[in-house]
Symmetry: C2
Subunit: 205 residues, 2 copies
């Protein structure tokens, strides 16, 4: 593990499609492995192997291991997380419908992303600027939920901001657990109960 002044630029930029594909495979594998086994367990050799690319190629496009994580982060931010925005903006139905949409969204969308993002935030040593960006994004998501709540007439909760944070996280983690652990209960049952819990909370007594 050499720790000296590390190169900041890759030694090569993809010019042919083939190369772009290689780079892409590496990133995809890294995302998968980091999310699945954590940052430390995701060794560069491991990533290269999973991407079916030689370790040398990996180091053509990424100057070091941290740069891979950084690239994933940049990509995530570039893409934006506007899927949820779409869902929420056009859900003017009942409160239960809106909540159900959120839960469905979480189930569908429960990709590597949430866990990967957490790893990025907690493991990587990044510039303050990047960290702020991550933080801002999290706040945006919660903000979207908060807007929905304050727009809806049925919501009788004391502090909409706190409620938004609470239900956002609750839905995300419960979904994650459902998908990760060996299935104890049916997805439909789970969905119904989760929706019920959140809805009853928001609607109040």
């Amino acid at each position: 593990m050499p720790s000296a002044d590390r190169r900041l630029q890759p030694r090569r930029k993809p010019r042919q499609v083939r190369a772009e594909l290689t780079r892409e495979r590496i990133l995809a594998s890294a995302a998968h492995i980091f999310a699945e086994h954590g940052y430390a367990a995701g060794t560069t050799n491991h990533i290269a192997e999973h991407a079916r690319v030689s370790i040398g190629s990996l180091y053509q496009y990424f100057p070091n291991k941290d740069a891979i994580l950084a690239a994933l982060l940049v990509r995530h931010i570039d893409r934006g997380t506007w899927m949820q925005a779409d869902e929420l903006d056009m859900s003017p139905g009942s409160l239960e419908t809106a909540v159900r949409a959120m839960v469905r969204d979480a189930i569908d969308n429960h990709s590597d992303d949430p866990r990967l993002l957490r790893i990025m935030v907690e493991e990587a040593k990044f510039s303050q600027e990047l960290l702020d960006t991550i933080d801002r994004h999290g706040k945006i998501r919660v903000g979207q939920v908060r807007d929905l709540l304050s727009r809806h007439p049925d919501v009788t909760v004391a502090d909409v901001g706190v409620a938004a944070e609470l239900i956002q996280f609750t839905i995300e983690m419960n979904t994650h657990k459902l998908m990760a652990a060996p299935r104890t209960i049916a997805v439909e049952t789970f969905e119904t109960e989760l929706v019920t819990m959140v809805t009853r909370y928001l609607r109040g007594p």
Copy 2:
């Protein structure tokens, strides 16, 4: 980092007080160092040094590095289950009181060392034995909650088992997040909202 067939048992169990003390010092140091610098940075040599114990001694009582983290985790889980049992047994008041007791319990349990707990959850390599232990404890806790729910007259939920699982996990994870992440909201606010959510869910409309 050898990964071959690793010894599962320590080569020695403490028989004299002196040895028990050594083991204890190692665990304490490990907890401290893991919490402070992360799992990867907490090398066995580092731990031994901090505990003022030779590296050889460390390997007398722990077959490998993972076993240290596992021991810390098991200890934490043991304590948690035991505490919850106490709390729930003697909480015959209102439903809200009982739920509040659960939440308080979770908060207490996490206040020790949130960062260490995070590391345990995210970095520990779970042997089958450890997984079984965790699973067993999880079932015990859910069982305790289920009993409480079915005993309580105010609970109007369809399936008590599912509800127990849902609220147990929800409380645990939300608390975990609260303590691990930089504080966004006050603990009291959080407690109130979480209690409200769970209570409203259980009580129904």
